[in-house]
């Protein structure tokens, strides 16, 4: 589930970040990390090699449609920072920070608060690395 351990920042790469994330949560089935330009920096899937580019493209579209929804939502302020969409057998959690965007596919009943906590922790560690 969502117990966050410390990550050694100086050696943290996008690939390592996703591997740590996978260790943090047994609910995660796949993850993709995009850099500030929207390019896929790393991808990971429990089932094997993930279709990284496709997951990256879908993540970008996720935030595009979230922005569309936000603009139609009364009193929603600023850009969308996080998205949670649960449908069918899975749920997608995505977080966008200044330099990175991360999205994971998890089981339908993953706890959103823990998922977002873990995702923000990973992005924060990656942000420190870039600084």
């Amino acid at each position: 589930m969502g117990i966050v351990t410390s990550v050694p920042d100086p050696t943290l790469t996008p690939e390592l970040a996703l591997r740590y994330l996978d260790e943090l949560s047994t609910d995660i089935r796949a993850a993709v990390l995009l850099d500030g330009a929207g390019h896929v920096a790393a991808a990971h899937a429990v089932s094997g090699d993930p279709p990284a580019d496709k997951l990256g493209e879908l993540t970008t579209r996720l935030f595009d449609h979230a922005a569309e929804a936000a603009s139609a939502t009364h009193a929603f302020e600023g850009p969308v920072a996080q998205v949670e969409a649960s449908a069918g057998e899975g749920a997608v959690f995505a977080v966008r920070a200044e330099d990175w965007t991360i999205a994971v596919v998890a089981g339908r009943f993953a706890l959103p608060s823990l998922m977002f906590y873990d995702l923000r922790a990973v992005l924060s560690d990656l942000g420190k690395r870039a600084a």
């Binding site: 089935r29 796949a30 089932s47 996720l62 569309e68 929804a69 936000a70 139609a72 069918g88």
Partner: protein, 70 residues
Amino acid sequence: MRKERKGPLGKVAGIAEDFAAGQRRRQARREPRVTIYDSAGHARVLAEDTPGRAELLELAEEMTTLAAGE
């Protein structure tokens, strides 16, 4: 809060109510749901007719299928 019923019939009715409430909670968790958050962490659950919501659910299903390796 549920009103207490007396006697064995009341106990059975109470169990049935708890079961039905559990079923309703489980059903509610299975419903498609989209929530967006602003940078301060304020959440908004999107109403069914919100523009973009249907596309977000489609994307979530597509990503779930990809994650399963299908």
